[in-house]
């Protein structure tokens, strides 16, 4: 849930659109209070513009399906409280940092995949459409190329165009 919140935030959709609360079966009153309170919160955020956030929504969903991220999720206790075979432990802070970095990376890669779905594009076009810096696009594109998901498809003048390989 922490990862989804982080993704919603970097996607510009808003962390508050996902809420987690604990209610036991004896707390009907509490349930009613939470629903009232949280509905007011969503009311304040307004309607979610699905057309505008089409790309980020699709990318966040794809990122959450990425195996490296799924392997990391929910491993907090294992990695921060129990040791590995070398008697090493992770600090809780570094675990969360790794998780967030990994989520952001997967999100950016998914964002590129989504834009390339429409057809071959240059790095600058991708940067413009995704709002990511050109350097970040190059880095993530390099990852995609190495994992066999994207490749050069041709030139536009002296600039390379990239395409998505069937995944």
């Amino acid at each position: 849930m922490q990862v989804v919140g982080h993704l919603l935030e970097i996607a510009g959709i808003g962390r508050e659109r996902l809420q987690l609360r604990w209610v036991s079966s004896a707390e009907g009153q509490l349930f009613a209070e939470y629903v009232t309170e949280l509905t007011q919160l969503i009311l304040g955020s307004g309607s979610l513009d699905r057309e505008r956030f089409k790309l980020p929504l699709a990318a966040a969903k794809q990122a959450l399906q990425a195996p490296p991220l799924r392997w990391l999720m929910g491993m907090e206790k294992q990695l921060t409280e129990r040791e590995n075979v070398f008697h090493e432990k992770l600090e809780a802070g570094s675990y969360h940092l790794i998780l967030e970095q990994r989520a952001e990376e997967e999100y950016q890669k998914a964002l590129l995949c989504e834009t390339l779905r429409e057809g071959p594009k240059t790095v600058r076009q991708m940067a413009q459409e995704t709002g990511l810096p050109v350097y970040t696009v190059s880095l993530r594109l390099n990852h995609l190329e190495r994992s066999g998901l994207a490749d050069v498809s041709g030139h536009e003048g002296t600039t390379f165009k990239f395409k998505l390989l069937a995944a």
Partner: protein, 67 residues
């Protein structure tokens, strides 16, 4: 705006805790907004992060998970 904005909210309720509490809220006639659409799960741990994104991209303005 003529019509007041009514958010559509997807709520995942755990069968053993929050679903029962929602039931209790109903039986005890506590008032709460009717914006939530309830999805019953056997455990709130069953809620995959992908479900949340699927909900948001298929028309909901917010997602609640009650455990």
């Amino acid at each position: 705006m003529g019509v007041k904005f009514e958010p559509k909210i997807l709520a995942f309720l755990c069968k053993w805790c929050s679903y029962a509490s929602a039931d209790l809220a109903g039986v005890s006639r506590f008032q709460y907004p009717s914006n939530i659409r309830v999805m019953l799960t056997m455990c709130s741990g069953r809620v995959d992060p992908v479900f949340v994104m699927e909900g948001l991209s298929s028309g909901f303005d917010g997602v609640f998970v009650f455990g």
